[in-house]
Symmetry: C2
Subunit: 332 residues, 2 copies
DNA sequence: CTGTTAGCGCTTTCAA
DNA sequence: TTGAAAGCGCTAACAG
């Protein structure tokens, strides 16, 4: 019952030619006579031949697969990014291997190593690590997302984290806030550092003295954001507004804000999330479309894979404030 | 700069033995003398040798990769399922290829074909298609998730869709509702059919005549759920409660419910989502942990990959009502 | 335009 | 216990 899959040799035999010629036909080589080509094509159809991608990759030293490495697939931001990359990949018939680092540099190393070992054609990476020396001689094109690789000349698609954070704070200040809290990830990543810097920029530009009590850096893995929010709100001199530096923190913070019935507080989230527009008040966000980031990254990668060789570039995905209510609340 | 990666032959040479013996050591074959083994192991370390997974797969006719096929990675339900599968896979050092069907049977076919062609070691599939004849002689173990393959004797991890939906409706009835609307996907999938059936079961058991005006089946791809909700709420004789048959529908419906200021309506969602607990009123759900489904499916697959051969089984992941407010509101 | 030969890196007969 | 040789399915050289 289990017919072994036809091999190229079978096709060649059926078409009364050599494997090489059959191979040529299959790979669209022009230098094959029309009649031979027709015979081979017929044989392919008759036998239901499908080339073996493994053998092909082994021979070519390269795979038709791209790797995508992110913090965590379940993270809504990355889920959207991946969705978009995958869509574009599938349209081109290339498959995608996803892997998560779980925000562990060590794990990132292992995962990337494995992917390289498999000779993926290209890599899209949301790197958690600071050092990419071992990628310097990467045999395949690399596109970084969300955070650029600072020690490597490689393409990246990022947002202006610092500027975006600054925008958020300025937006809140424009609505009268002077005591604005920051809730963000611990500063393992450049992204986190830039966003905090943007927060500080804005305060400084407004001549507001920084108050370290208002800066909460939480462990990304744990659900600490809610605890941090509670601490902030219970301060003797509490903030009148909160800036959440990423979606995960927003998702962690808001339940606490609501539980404490402090929906009067100003709130801006860096990054959108489900229901942000539906809860009351609706959440003002700094929009940085994950789909767009995914698309830009994939486009870049595919263009390199197609042999184009544009200068290495850090592409800035646009960012804008989407006012929805929570960011326009004034201080009490 | 570009040191070619060491091959098994290099290791063998360095250890002054044959490739086969080196191979034996690497694959943990016992029948190798201690001294030879030590030399080979030393060589592996010295050269930084890493076996080529491609060549290995080609030779073995099997890959150390598992495939996961779902509707869409961006779907929060599947994102969580995948996250869990991936976690377990990574722990075992096997990589995961994700692919989406976008709910197109045709695409599912292509995607599965490609995966099989790559000789993946196993497959976890949220199938959108009704026919899996071509999988009957699948060379690798298959575990279906979310919906079982009805024409195939294969493992599956599902929830009791019909019972769960019934639970939801009974819960609403217990709080006084008699006119309960259903919003769910068009009936392409068994899941959708079962959930609608459960809805009907409950009404019938309660002696409530079905009203087809209260049943809205929406196109999963589009954001039709919101429109459907508006239509329902504007009915001359509107429902006092809505049952949303899946997370996507809930995410589509709730913005409309809030926009129309109809948060007085009873609401139960099949499936949890971000902020469900935070919006007002908080959303009562039928909980079916995607993580658990992912874990059960992965466990099953890995146990088969490990050579165990338990009888084919459809595993039912548990389901329960989590009351949070919206499902406990009585009719006006 | 076509075919023969070699070999990608690995594992597996099968004999020593 | 070990090794030589064959070959997984494919494609690149290089003749013809």
């Amino acid at each position: 019952m289990k017919a072994p899959r036809p091999r190229l040799r079978d096709v060649a035999e059926a078409a009364q030619t050599s494997t090489k010629t059959a191979s040529r036909v299959i790979n669209g080589d022009v230098r094959v006579s029309a009649s031979t080509r027709a015979r081979v094509e017929q044989a392919v159809v008759d036998l239901g031949y499908r080339p073996d991608p493994l053998a092909r990759s082994l021979r070519l030293g390269q795979d038709e697969t791209i790797g995508v490495v992110v913090d965590e697939v379940g993270d809504p931001f990355f889920a959207s990014v991946i969705g978009e990359i995958e869509r574009m990949a599938l349209d081109r018939g290339v498959s995608v291997i996803i892997a998560s680092t779980r925000r562990l540099a060590e794990r990132e190393r292992i995962v990337l190593d494995g992917l390289l070992q498999r000779r993926v054609a290209g890599l899209i990476i949301a790197s958690i690590s600071d050092t990419h020396a071992y990628l310097r001689t990467s045999p395949c094109p690399l596109v970084f997302i969300d955070r650029a690789a600072e020690d490597l000349a490689a393409d990246a698609v990022v947002v202006d984290d610092r500027g975006g954070a600054r925008m958020a704070i300025e937006h809140l200040m424009r609505h009268g806030h002077r005591r604005i809290a920051y809730i963000g990830d611990r500063l393992d990543t450049a992204t986190a550092r830039y966003r905090l810097a943007g927060y500080r920029d804005a305060l400084e530009a407004a001549g507001i003295a920084p108050d370290e009590d208002l800066v909460a850096e939480v462990e990304p893995a744990k659900g600490d954001a809610g605890v941090a929010a509670e601490t902030l709100l219970r301060l003797a001199n509490p903030p009148t507004a909160i800036f959440s530096a990423n979606t995960r923190c927003s998702l962690g913070t808001l339940p606490t804000v609501h539980r404490l019935r402090r929906t009067d507080i100003g709130f801006v989230s860096f990054g959108d999330f489900a229901m942000a527009d539906t809860i009351t008040p609706a959440i003002t966000i700094i929009e940085h479309s994950p789909e767009l980031i995914g698309r830009l990254a994939a486009e870049r990668l595919f263009s390199r894979l197609a042999g184009e060789d544009p200068p290495v570039e850090t592409i800035l995905a646009p960012l804008r404030v989407v006012p929805r209510g929570s960011g326009e609340l004034g201080p009490a």
